[in-house]
């Protein structure tokens, strides 16, 4: 009983704490003119803030709350994919050759992950009938799987290609990654455990989102380090390396 009450008050705290942090992040984005470089991310944050406030106000009306909450979640997931695309575009913006390879890898990965999502839906077939709540959870599990998979591909490509992430871009990807990964675990486990534990998953999910908000705000505020011209190597030196590696490939 006591633990149930604690979980309940924690959920309450997270319901209020989340929008407060979102408001702070929205302030940071406005201060940094974030919408110029990251229009989708700005839209994602502002939408989530509006969604949280509206959901908070509608909690007394269960039916309306249910639809507002899940429609909001669906829009949030779509915006999450757009944020992912924005991050991808940003990190490969200045590397045309790498972008071509990365685009091919991403296309193949998206197809593979979409197949996995379809497989999840087919596998969950019996759970999809009759209960709208469960159906929504399964759909969320499938889409979050694609989102997490694409984030893995993004981080792996960036690592393999030795790409430099700007502070803000890295922060956006990291924050999104933390949230969607924990969300995927929570949404998958939720259907496997007894309803008594559902509050615990809401708490974990809430904490993951708050962590992401802190990560986003911190990385947005961190200054970018600049390099001066003298630190850059001579172009001739790079062309020598280029020549040597081509000889190795070509012989």
């Amino acid at each position: 009983m006591l633990s149930a009450m604690s979980a309940g008050s924690l959920v309450e705290f997270l319901w209020i704490g989340g929008p407060v942090l979102q408001l702070i992040l929205a302030g940071v984005l406005v201060y940094r003119k974030g919408w110029l470089n990251f229009p989708f991310f700005t839209a994602y944050i502002l939408f989530n803030l509006a969604h949280a406030v509206v959901s908070l106000g509608l909690r007394s009306n269960q039916t309306v709350f249910f639809y507002v909450y899940w429609i909001g979640e669906a829009v949030g997931i779509i915006l999450g994919f757009l944020v992912l695309y924005e991050v991808f575009k940003n990190i490969f913006r200045h590397h045309s050759a790498l972008r071509k390879v990365a685009t091919s890898i991403f296309t193949i990965s998206t197809l593979a992950l979409a197949s996995l999502a379809v497989f999840i839906l087919i596998h969950a077939g019996p759970r999809l009938t009759g209960n709208i709540g469960r159906s929504v959870m399964v759909l969320e599990e499938a889409t979050r799987t694609v989102e997490v998979g694409l984030l893995i591909v993004l981080f792996m490509c960036a690592g393999a290609f030795g790409l430099h992430w700007r502070q803000s871009v890295f922060g956006i990807a990291l924050g999104l990654g933390i949230f969607v990964s924990v969300e995927l675990i929570a949404v998958t486990m939720r259907s496997q455990v007894s309803p008594a534990l559902h509050d615990a998953f809401s708490v974990v999910r809430g904490f993951a989102y708050i962590t992401s908000l802190i990560v986003w705000s911190t990385y947005m505020l961190l200054p970018e380090r600049a390099t001066d011209e003298s630190e850059l190597p001579q172009r001739g030196q790079l062309e020598q390396w280029n020549q040597a590696i081509l000889e190795l490939i070509h012989q």
């Binding site: 380090r225 600049a226 390396w241």
Partner: protein, 169 residues
């Protein structure tokens, strides 16, 4: 089973994010390390390989070739790391207020990313030759990807008017 796959995927993602944070911190302090071009050319010389193949018994040649590949791998790794450092420097220099620096940074960064891509191709080639030392991957095997890369560099050269880069390939 499906649940387990999904949970493992999510946990792998969290592990990857943790690794990315750590390697990003490490990369931020990395500097360009010296690269001995003459030694690299000597170790990758096919003439030496032909000579050794003719003189040594098969088993001895394979053992020696694998050792050469291991050393070559270290060289390519260093070149790939250097290219990544240059890309990072180039990216950071793009924020400069001096347009000349921004232009130079863009050129250098693009060349570095070409090198990084070629290093990945070289790693693949070395791995195959390490597994099957009797193989000698020739340009014909790598031609399609190489040609595609060459075309993209040529197009880039036309856009940026960088004749030396085209000449290099």
């Amino acid at each position: 089973m499906m649940t387990l796959i999904v949970i493992v995927l999510a946990l792998c993602a969290i592990g990857l994010f943790y690794t990315a944070v750590r390697s990003r911190k490490k990369r931020a302090t990395q500097k360009i390390r010296p690269f001995d071009m003459q030694a690299f050319r000597a170790i990758t010389s096919r003439n030496d390989e032909v000579f050794l193949r003719a003189r040594l018994p098969h088993s001895e040649f394979y053992r020696l070739k694998r050792r050469r590949i291991r050393v070559t791998h270290l060289y390519v790794k260093r070149m790939a790391n250097n290219a990544a450092v240059v890309m990072r420097m180039g990216e950071m220099a793009r924020t400069s207020s001096n347009p000349d620096v921004v232009r130079l940074a863009a050129q250098v960064s693009e060349t570095a990313s070409q090198i990084r891509l070629q290093c990945i191709v070289a790693f693949a080639k070395l791995s195959v030759e390490f597994a099957v030392p009797s193989l000698q991957l020739n340009p014909a095997t790598l031609e399609p990807s190489y040609q595609a890369m060459r075309d993209s560099i040529a197009r880039l050269g036309q856009l940026q008017n960088t004749a030396p880069l085209q000449a290099a390939i």
